[in-house]
């Protein structure tokens, strides 16, 4: 920010200060609270589904993760397609964005949005528009952590 301010003239800086003063602030505490409650609820739901798979469908706690994630993704895609997910997200914020449901929503919404441009260039080309960077940086981060782990094993 300090670096950014340098390129602005004095009048611009004064204006930005004045505008900042008038703008309503993001309700950070309220957003945190809803994110905590909704995010927690999604995790609780996931735990419930996991228990269900283990109790009635013969999965173990090692194998029940995959079908649970699949069910959550399916629920997210259904809610996105019905046009409900973005409405929930407006007050849930990070609560719906951080869990796997948010990732599914980002892909599904982009796929629906660009369907009018065709299957290949529209859906295929745009599906990872938002999710792409999550995959790229997730993979890079995993690689770095993996290297660190390897070095740790050598040394210790």
């Amino acid at each position: 920010m300090a670096n950014n301010m340098k390129k602005f003239t004095k009048v611009q800086q004064e204006y930005q200060k004045m505008a900042k003063h008038i703008e309503p602030k993001r309700p950070v505490w309220k957003n945190c609270f809803f994110a905590f409650v909704v995010g927690g609820f999604i995790c609780l739901l996931g735990q419930g589904i996991m228990e269900m798979f283990e109790r009635w469908f013969g999965f173990t706690d090692q194998t029940s993760g995959d079908p649970t994630v699949a069910v959550l993704i399916l629920l997210s895609v259904i809610l996105t397609s019905m046009g409900v997910y973005d409405k929930i997200a407006q007050w849930a914020g990070a609560g719906t964005a951080v869990p796997v449901t948010g990732f599914a929503n980002s892909m599904c919404s982009a796929a629906i949005e660009h369907r009018s441009e065709g299957l290949v260039l529209g859906v295929g080309g745009n599906m990872f528009k938002l999710a792409g960077s999550v995959i790229v940086f997730g993979t890079v981060a995993a690689f770095v952590v993996g290297i660190c782990h390897l070095i740790y094993d050598w040394v210790v």
Binding site: Q16, M18, A19, I22, A89, A110, L130
Partner: protein, 339 residues
Amino acid sequence: MLTGHQSWVFTRPPVIIATATVVGPDEGKGPMQSEFDVVHDELTIGQPSWEKAERRILEESTQLALDKAGLTSGQVQFFVGGDLMNQIISASFAARTLNIPYIGIFGACSTSMQGLALSACMIDAGAAETILCGTCSHNCTAEKQFRYPTEYGSQKPPTAQFTVTGAGSAVLAKSGKGPIVTAATIGRIVDMGITDPFNMGAAMAPAAVDTMQAHFRDLNRGPSDYDVIMTGDLGAVGYAIAIELMRKHHIPIHETTYVDGGLMIYDRDKQTVQAGGSGCGCSAVITYGHFIRRLNQGELKRILVVATGALLSPLSYQQGESIPCIAHAVTIEAGGVVD
């Protein structure tokens, strides 16, 4: 004609002989619902894509304006239009349907008054006898182009604005019955270094005040010369900043009724629109729906519409550029019959 530095005062003021407005479901639920000619229940307007839906509402509003004026497209010399889409596709494709010689313009959300000012100038100069001008915006096309996919769950800050789904068109003629366009001020670009595309109101407010100041200076007028002064789509944040800026610049805005289109179109307590409405359609439908009716009914004598536009692109803000803004002002007066 040219008066002062950047204003036009029309010697033979063109008449707005007909206007038409078409809006989407959210605007139809707002406090202005009875002011619009057509309210659609579906955001898709029965079309397979958002872009086609946006084009469709512009086609409907231009056709309806022509019908109200009792004209066919052959009797209109030019169509002046623009919108928010890349390469102004909505206006250009609507012009293809209309088959009227076409001038495409872009002024972002200021396009409504940019078009009206240019059309009035052309008629006053004798370059045309009848001109159709119009603009449109659609919430979902704007979301798709400028922000995220419409169904993407992102949390908007309280400074964000909700793009209006709506189209407004007007037919201007050398003579006829209706309100007259008497003056216009073309704004210059004002950039106060705001970089947040979710805070358009704060970016655009200085441009609105700059154009108003120029208008008052060029025409030697003040706010008290107008019954109503409306800014296009500053929303709650921009509106508050504009009032503060006018206080600093000693513009006695309290002498008139100062309103903002972005605050008029939705009920912010009941509708999730954050700071209010925005988009080309916002100032167009409020001016051509609400204010033209009040001018026609004699409730208002003279109004100033200051349409504000943020001239950014998705590319420019991703590259960290600030948002250049513009505002164009047009004076509309209750007319009567002009020969």
